[in-house]
Amino acid sequence: MTQSARRDTRGTLDPAPGTARRRGHPLSRLPHNRVAVVCLVLLALIVAASVFAPLLTSAGPTRSTLDDAFAPPGGGHLLGADSVGRDVLARLLYGGRVSLLGGFIAVAVALLIGVPAGLLAGYYRGRLDAVVSWVASLVMAAPAIMVLLVSIAAIGPDTNATMAMLGLILAPGVFRLVRASVTSMREELYVDAARVSGLGDARIVRRHILPVVQAPTIIQSAQMFGVAVVIQAGIEFLGLGSAGQASWGAMLNEAFANLYTKPSLLVAPGLTIVITVATLGLLANALRDALVASLGATPVPYDGDDTADRLATALPQGADAVLDLVGGDALDTVSTLMSPGCRVLTVADPDTAARFGARPLSRGNRAQPLGELARRVNDQIK
């Protein structure tokens, strides 16, 4: 499976404790990723700016002062004013509330429907899976904005209701992702191993399947949030959002109406949308990189005379299990028995291993029945 698992552990592999690759929960690696940190800080700023809008500006988002129409940036209006003299900065800040709340609603609805449906369909398969998958591909086939237009025609222009509808449209994407992860998990030996060792369905899902589904779902959520912000801006641009509220899309519409007289009105809402969505996209990419790096159970082999010292430094790095195993074959066997993300510390010397709480799995464990081996590995991880 991994490179380190294939190599002979005796003597040749010599990872200093600092260089031994740590693979834990994908999110635990995020603070090390500069892009991710910048994105998270930017997002926090955007959220804070819209939540604390009343503290940041005294101007109202919908209060118009006709004398100030098309006021240039600076002075009374930091970012200028639009065609009816409304403060652009205030509209931007308050508009953020509409966009962020909308994105949140869409993602929440998509997750609430997609995750349970995906888990059930992927785990139990059968007729349920067939029906839900069929519905999902049906919903995915239509262009989102058209479906939203039809729903607006039916229930009227209400931004939050439209975003809930968007969540419904995005749910099949989540469903497919979760279902695909669960389906591929089911085929893994370690899920069989868990079942053989007597774990119930609920426990297998919680311990072995949910952790694997979690990371891709978070990535998808960041992406969906960006899509929701874009689609919402489009709906507001068409004038189909809730009436009378300041929003980034409505600001673009205002800029569009004055495209010949004051095209610079495009800049503020346009830039804000692009920065918000790009941040979400880059965050999703950074998360994906972290996820790819954390896939697969990683045996961390240790060997040699100073094993005890190494173990003392390696254990705090978070090995989930210590096994006394030698040789690539044995490592491969163990890797397939453990869920991705678990760290196994293997020690060649049974005595040393015992001192660190490892239970012997016996050498040449190939001869051992699979169920027995699996139970022992699971005992270790508990």
Partner: protein, 259 residues
């Protein structure tokens, strides 16, 4: 109009007329829905197809080049993907319209000229809308093409072909591209459908009398027959695109052919 009858009866009547090609008349203006859709569809399809075709060619070239060369070009394609994701097509349209059409007056900012009236006028009227749709499509598709070409290049049979002395060009064009094509085709078909959605907003920006602007007007007015007609038009497009993609799969990959 029979609005007092149960909705299932209304739907039944609509359906029985619809299968015979009669989608009723608009509640606003009283035009025949099917006639006005037939009139408006070419406008929408012009900008969608006009955007997608160049996008398909460009994104395949860019994606393959990025996968084979890697390096700087690869980073450019990756960066474009983020830009394409973050800049909504209608914002791109607004920017293009504000600069190229309104300020520089290179191309018309609004209006549509039918192809039959004047081919050059038609081309001018669809250029900006098509380009604004294409940019997002290129970003998304080039990224996918890059990914699937890299996946195929990693496979064992590529190494085998190279070890048998086959030229790199032949490996790429005869074997890698054919195997990388199905995922790229899927993305293109999804892009087609999302461009149809994007066209709704683009048509408003450029004042084009297409299906999208009809759908928006019908939504605002609550013009149910027209909304239903637009949905049927969409379903037809989705079915047609999926059928074409399935046929293309068959041409590319003998394994999926049905005997």
């Amino acid at each position: 109009m029979g609005l007092d009858r149960p909705w299932i009866a209304q739907y039944g009547q609509w359906l029985s007329h619809a299968v015979r090609g009669d989608f009723g008349t608009s509640w606003f203006g009283g035009d025949s829905v099917s006639e006005s859709l037939v009139l408006k569809a070419p406008v929408s399809l012009s900008i969608v197809v006009g955007g997608l075709l160049p996008a398909a060619v460009l994104s395949v070239v860019l994606g393959v080049a990025a996968a084979v060369r890697r390096g700087r070009l690869d980073r450019v394609v990756q960066a474009t993907a983020i830009v394409g994701y973050a800049v909504p097509s209608f914002l791109m349209a607004l920017m293009l319209s504000a600069t190229l059409a309104v300020q520089l007056r290179w191309l018309p900012a609004t209006g549509y000229v039918p192809l039959a009236d004047s081919p050059s006028g038609w081309l001018q009227s669809i250029t900006l809308p098509a380009v604004s749709l294409a940019i997002g499509a290129i970003a998304a598709t080039a990224q996918q093409v890059r990914g699937s070409v890299i996946d195929v290049l990693r496979q064992g049979f590529v190494r085998t072909l190279r070890s048998r002395g086959m030229s790199e060009r032949r490996v790429l064009f005869r074997h890698v591209l054919r195997n990388a094509a199905p995922p790229a085709l899927t993305v293109l078909s999804l892009q087609f459908i999302s461009l149809v959605g994007g066209a709704v907003v683009i048509e408003k920006v450029f004042g084009l009398p297409g299906v999208g602007s009809a759908a928006v007007t019908a939504t605002v007015n609550g013009d149910t027959p027209l909304v239903m007609g637009v949905v049927v038009y969409l379903v037809l497009i989705v079915v047609a695109v999926n059928l074409l993609v399935d046929l293309a799969y068959g041409r590319l990959n003998p394994k999926v052919r049905v005997r």
